[in-house]
């Protein structure tokens, strides 16, 4: 097992704390002039996304977490599991709803996703920053709800709902920024 000492800690490093994998966000050295040195480390729990602060005695170590990111192609959902394939090795993996999380409402077959693996199993799935999806339901009228900034809700083929401009119609393909969940534009046919 690999261990990192506090002087090696840096942003992005993955370590194990209390049995869970964490990503280091920030590592600050704190020390009284005469006395014990500490490292105040900000970490994100890779399972829950929660950010917490953890203090180490300088020189203490943490076990390296077997966590790495890989690009995988989304194949299909069998009703319970999401199936992904490594486009280079054709190796396939399945991810459960917990790992796929919010990505489920954006991805469709053949999309390339960033899959974070922990001990070889998917821990989280990030959709592409931009996806193109077909609108399956939206109010045909031009007179939408003006309270939300002039747009109207549109349901996409994956089930996600985004606000689109009033002129966008049923059956059209649009580009969406998944990081903020917003309509970017229409995609030409």
């Amino acid at each position: 097992m690999a261990f990192y000492s506090t002087s090696e800690f840096r942003g992005g490093m993955k370590i194990m704390l209390d049995g869970d994998p964490y990503a280091i966000i920030e590592n600050v050295f704190v020390k009284p002039g005469k006395g014990q040195a500490f490292n105040r480390v900000k970490v994100r729990n890779l399972k829950t996304g929660r950010v917490v602060e953890r203090t180490f005695k300088s020189g203490d170590t943490a076990e390296a977490a077997d966590v790495h990111d890989t690009q995988m192609q989304y194949l299909y959902n069998d009703g319970e599991q999401w199936h992904f394939m490594d486009p280079a090795s054709f190796e396939q993996l399945t991810a459960d709803a917990n790992a796929v999380g919010e990505a489920a409402k954006w991805i469709k077959e053949e999309d390339l996703c960033n899959v974070t693996l922990y001990n070889g199993a998917p821990l989280s799935v990030e959709p592409p920053n931009f996806v193109t999806l077909t609108i399956v339901e939206t109010d045909p009228g031009l007179k939408g709800d003006t309270s939300g900034g002039g747009g109207k809700p549109a349901t996409l083929e994956t089930g996600a709902v985004v606000r689109v401009p009033l002129f966008v119609q049923n059956g059209e393909v649009i580009k969406v920024d998944t990081r903020i969940g917003e309509y970017v534009g229409r995609v030409g046919k």
Binding site: V28, F29, P32, G33, K34, G35, F38, T55, K57
Partner: protein
């Protein structure tokens, strides 16, 4: 033309603004004027010494000197403070002295830490630590050009009692662990610390940020285990006659009513070295010349070291020590 010249690839510019460089030069001039006006002699002592500090919280950088008698190279330690050498001058009858110098600490780097930094250290024969605290306040007012800056004093015991409801003289590690966890220090349940380590944790994580806001806060009279080179005042509650100055949530200075008892100094050195050996830390050679000077008789005195880079941070409003350094270690 090449795509990228070396000057693009290698950061060569200073990290301090010109304004910060000017502030540093002004501070050095003001220090010299302050002590000239008070009859304190400026001195210089070696930066590289054959002996090193034994303090458990401080590690030395070292280098080698190949010279007459030492063809294989003699290890020389870069000073972590000019304390031992300046005390030898006091023992030799120097009278009040001060020094501005670079000091070095291994392993230290952060927003307020840099492996080499500038220290102002001075000694007042015949003074107690409380009298020296008043002079530190005068100097800081002069250097910050803030004649109205107020100063408050609080004992280490009162500080912990008032802010955390505990008495550092009568507590134990499990109580301190509970307090640390209650204060929201992440991972407190996993830390392996001795009593002083826990007190350092609480001071640095829970108390320091609130000290010296808009005024100078002097914390004085430390637990004997944290006396370092201070004399311990005997009594029902013995206290190390030591003080620290905090300003804007930052430790700026550390002072002692100096220990001058050679036997007690030897005992503390031996204690440090024993604890270093027990934890597989380096055990550097002790400063025998310093011990000899104590044996010959060093006058009663108080002394203090003040971090000039941090004082410059306060003066210039820099949030990071790199803001007052020309070239931090990453581009040194």
């Amino acid at each position: 033309m090449s795509a990228a010249s070396a000057s693009d690839a290698t950061p060569w510019r200073p990290s301090a603004t010109r304004e910060a460089l000017v502030a540093r030069a002004g501070m050095l001039a003001a220090i010299r004027a302050f002590f000239a006006g008070r009859g304190v002699l400026e001195v210089e002592t070696p930066i590289a010494s054959r002996a090193a500090v034994s303090d458990l919280g401080i590690d030395s950088l070292s280098t080698r000197w190949a010279g007459p008698g030492h063809p294989g190279g003699l290890p020389l330690y870069l000073q972590t403070s000019p304390e031992y050498a300046m005390k030898r001058l006091l023992a030799a009858g120097s009278g009040p002295i001060y020094q501005v110098c670079k000091v070095f600490r291994d392993g230290e780097r952060g927003p307020r830490h840099h492996p080499e930094f500038s220290l102002l250290e001075w000694y007042r024969p015949g003074w107690g630590h409380r009298a020296l605290m008043a002079e530190v306040a005068d100097l800081v007012r002069a250097l910050l050009d803030a004649p109205g800056l107020a100063a408050e004093e609080i004992s280490y015991r009162d500080l912990f009692h008032d802010r955390l409801g505990l008495d550092p003289w009568h507590t134990d590690t499990e109580t301190l662990r509970r307090v640390a966890a209650g204060q929201g220090i992440g991972g407190a349940q996993w830390l392996a610390l001795d009593l002083d380590g826990w007190l350092d944790l609480l001071l640095s994580h829970c108390l320091e940020a609130g000290l010296g806001l808009g005024r100078m806060t002097f914390v004085y009279d430390y637990p004997p285990s944290q006396a370092a080179l201070a004399r311990v005042r005997p009594g029902p509650q013995p206290a190390g006659e030591r003080f620290e100055l905090y300003l804007e949530g930052m430790e700026l200075a550390n002072g002692f009513h100096e220990l001058t008892d050679e036997a007690e100094q030897r005992r503390r050195f031996a204690l440090d070295l024993g604890r270093r050996a027990a934890t597989a830390r380096a055990t550097p050679p002790l400063d025998q010349a310093f011990l000899a000077a104590l044996g010959a008789g060093m006058p009663a005195a108080s002394g203090v070291a003040l971090g000039l880079d941090r004082l410059l941070m306060v003066k210039t409003g820099a949030g990071h020590i790199d803001g007052v350094l020309a070239f931090p270690v990453e581009r040194a």
